[in-house]
């Protein structure tokens, strides 16, 4: 018998799966919503317990799916880092559900709501599976689940616009999974394994003998490219603003905050558990990520400045934030990867807050979306205004908030480098912070300044109470402040978790 807590990763994945499978049997969206919420909360608690135990004993354990250990059967593995990320996925999922409850009701037809929650549950399961998996082919299967489910939650709103956005999203995702799959196939051809520990052993032995080096380089390139396409790295980001900006609030929060991150988590596992960070640097894969990350940071910020639609502005900001993460990965040192993971967590708690607040603000102002027409909405819904302000300030990088800490860690890791890259990274961080300020500050000023629109909707808007939103906004705000103040324990967990992830040096 294993210690009981080691069953948690398996239990979490199957809980989501089974509750997802049950969804079509529900008649009303309400029951489906409550079950989904319960499952995410239970998963968050379980992930917290797992984090406690793995941090206490400082271990990373392997859970065999079936009777056959590696290299014969499927496996999942969990350590501190995985537990922390799973905690993030589950809790942000639960809070996004709460934050977008009223818009789900408005945007999605009643008979289709259970199907919407089916997608959310399976999306949740697939994100957990991508976090825990120790097997690359399982990774591929769950990438596909992730793709289909996230397309489904975009189009669930069922307007022509969102369906057109979905088809763009789908085409780009299919390109990405095609590239990933052919990389995986080539990797299987030269190593003969699919499980990460065996793959790593084999890859390192190939490197030491110098055999199949060209295919290995190409494999690393193709798999990284495939995942980056799906995670909306710069030249492949064009679909994102329309998909994230047009979907219902919960979908936008989950897509921006979590789904993009799930792919990056798989990429990090690929870098550490299959290749090793030294090998990735030696193959120059991360140089490309670095360049495109920086371009993405600057370009998306400029696009966001010119955007009038509030949700699309936030979506462009997501592209920029993804650029930060890829820049961290591209720096190619362990410290930088820790900073990138910290950025993942910060962005995962900040962006859903911004999306939920933006939708609350537009809800009290007659469902208007353009920044001009949202003037003064924060006076009608002060909590949403405060939440939006806090989230925006965190994105700009004001001290004591999460965004500052992640930028600080990234800058710190760049300073440690002794190459021209250092200056590129520092300069672009400074420039993009300024650019962030250039679009968040006007937006914040706009929502607080009084206008005719505000007077028109004020009476009506004040009557629309939204308790679930208040709960979720409040919890998100606490998390944003927490990630800003208490970064040391979190980054310590990330750092020791990364060391457990594998990656014996060359």
């Amino acid at each position: 018998m294993l210690p009981w807590y080691q069953n948690i990763p398996f239990a979490c994945i199957f809980l989501c799966m089974i509750s997802g499978i049950m969804m079509p049997l529900f008649k009303s969206g309400k029951a489906a919503f409550h079950l989904t919420l319960c499952v995410s909360l239970i998963n968050a608690i379980l992930a917290g317990v797992l984090l406690y135990f793995t941090a206490k004993e400082s271990i990373r354990f392997v859970y065999v799916m079936g009777h056959f250990p590696a290299p014969w059967g499927n496996e999942i593995a969990a350590g501190k880092l995985e537990a922390l990320l799973a905690l993030m996925f589950s809790s942000v999922m639960a809070l996004s559900l709460l934050g977008g409850k009223s818009s789900i009701h408005d945007d999605i037809l009643e008979p289709k709501q259970p199907l919407y929650f089916l997608m959310l549950n399976l999306l949740h399961a697939s994100m957990l599976a991508l976090t825990y998996t120790n097997d690359l082919f399982t990774g591929y299967v769950f990438i596909e689940i992730n793709t289909l489910a996230s397309c489904a939650i975009v189009m669930a709103r069922d307007t022509a616009k969102t369906i057109a956005a979905t088809i763009r999203y789908l085409v780009v995702s299919l390109l990405g999974s095609g590239l990933f799959l052919i990389g995986l196939v080539l990797l299987y051809c030269i190593t003969g394994h699919l499980l990460m520990p065996n793959l790593q052993e084999k890859v390192l032995s190939l490197v030491s003998t110098g055999k199949y080096m060209e295919p290995l380089t190409i494999v690393a390139g193709l798999m990284t490219a495939g995942i980056s396409v799906k995670a909306a790295l710069f030249p492949f980001h064009a679909w994102l603003p329309f998909a994230h900006g047009g979907a219902t609030t919960t979908s936008s929060s989950v897509l921006s905050g979590l789904v993009l991150k799930a792919y990056i988590v798989l990429l990090i596992k690929l870098f550490f558990s299959v290749f090793s960070i030294e090998l990735v640097s030696a193959l120059h894969v991360n140089d490309i990520l670095f360049v495109f990350g920086i371009i993405g940071m600057i370009y998306a910020s400029i696009k966001a400045i010119r955007e009038e639609h509030i949700k699309r502005m936030l979506a462009y900001s997501s592209v920029a934030q993804i650029g930060y993460i890829f820049m961290g990965l591209g720096l190619g040192t362990k410290v930088a990867v820790i900073a990138a993971i910290y950025q993942i967590i910060v962005h995962a708690v900040t962006k859903p807050l911004l999306f939920a607040s933006a939708s609350r603000l537009s809800e009290v102002q007659g469902h208007e979306k353009s920044l001009y027409r949202l003037r003064g909405s924060a006076r009608t819904a002060p909590l949403a205004g405060i939440a939006f302000t806090l989230g925006g300030l965190s994105m700009i990088g004001i001290p004591l908030l999460g965004g500052f800490m992640s930028k600080f860690l990234l800058a710190e890791s760049a300073v440690l480098l002794a190459s021209p890259r250092q200056w590129a990274a520092l300069l672009s961080l400074a420039l993009s912070s300024v650019l962030n300020a250039l679009y968040y500050i006007p937006a914040i000023i706009a929502i607080w300044s009084p206008s005719d629109f505000m007077l028109k909707y004020q009476e009506e808007g004040k009557q629309k109470k939204n308790i679930t939103y208040s709960v979720s906004a409040f919890s998100f705000m606490v998390l944003v402040v927490l990630t800003g103040c208490a970064s040391t324990p979190v980054s310590e967990i990330i750092s020791s978790g990364l060391s457990l992830l594998g990656g014996a040096s060359l």
Partner: protein
């Protein structure tokens, strides 16, 4: 006396067909609104044209480079068809040599996908389930997806279907469909013994259902296969799959015996869970395939 149903066939044989009575209304085919200029507008502005050209050039470039790189890689790969390539290592050997006693499946592929690497296969069934859910969200008729003209068109089509019921087709389908089903069931039940398995057998049975629906019309189909049956079968089968697999994963990881007998290899009732899982997958796939067709054709099941 021949029944009314067959009278047209008899008439046809005798060579004097009764004049057809067109009961259905004639409705003009409706094409959704589509502005003719749309195509010209796509490439109207100079900026857009420039973007298009640069996009096409870069796409071709990327693709050429990709193919060149992959071709280069291919020549550096292990030789095709040789026994010594890295892919046929101890893992494949174990699946082939020990598979029979460990999983009880004669077909090593079935043993591998439903026992050794069952988690992947569970994911795969979920993909199918998600896809049918997506199609339901998109195509089920509801407030957003309905119009009066389309409804009448649909009704019209149904009437045409009834009108043109072809007795020859129906007779032959009545002969063929049981054979298709028999073959599908054979493929499913022998998944662990011979090539095939849940997915291929299910697809065959789904094709049989579609053939039946096409030739006999919706009403005949709905008398035994409605949306309720569809939901009940897919959900129950997938749930069954999930619980069985969860049980076996849990027991396996904790080092306990599942207590499921493997039986004699080669017998139809053998190889433990694989047979049950094959049946579950087969049911899911058969329903899903018919569900796809029905949703595509009518927006309902």
């Amino acid at each position: 006396m021949a029944s009314k149903k067959h009278s047209r066939f008899i008439d046809w044989v005798n060579g004097d067909t009764a004049e057809k009575v067109h009961e259905y209304k004639f409705i003009q085919k409706t094409v959704p609104p589509h502005s003719e200029q749309a195509h010209d507008e796509v490439i109207s502005t100079r900026k857009a044209r420039l973007f298009n050209i640069s996009y096409e050039i870069s796409a071709v470039l990327v693709c050429v480079i990709l193919v060149a790189v992959l071709l280069f890689t291919v020549f550096n790969l292990p030789l095709f068809g040789s026994a010594g390539n890295p892919a046929s290592n101890e893992v494949a050997e174990r699946y082939l040599e020990k598979g029979l006693e460990e999983t009880g499946a004669v077909n090593a592929v079935a043993g591998m996908i439903l026992d050794y690497r069952a988690f992947d296969t569970f994911g795969e069934s979920s993909v199918l389930f998600i896809a049918v859910g997506c199609v339901m969200i998109l195509l089920m008729r509801d407030k957003n997806n309905i119009s009066a003209t389309e409804d009448s068109l649909e009704e019209n089509e149904r009437l045409i279907e009834i009108e043109t019921n072809d007795p020859i087709l129906q007779k032959i389908v009545l002969l063929i469909v049981p054979c298709i089903f028999l073959f599908g069931i054979y493929v499913i039940l022998n998944g662990h013994l011979s090539p095939g398995g849940g997915f291929s057998g299910g697809a065959i049975m789904g094709a049989g259902l579609i053939l039946f629906a096409v030739s006999f019309g919706i009403d005949a189909m709905q008398s035994f296969f409605s949306i309720k049956t569809f939901k009940a079968i897919t959900t129950t089968a997938l749930m069954c799959y999930a619980t069985l697999k969860a049980y076996s994963f849990f027991m396996g990881a904790n080092g306990l015996e599942t207590g499921i007998p493997l039986g004699t290899p080669g017998a139809i009732l053998s190889s433990g869970l694989i047979l049950v899982l094959d049946i579950c997958v087969g049911l899911i796939v058969a329903c899903t395939m018919y569900g796809f067709y029905s949703l595509f054709a009518r927006g309902d099941i």
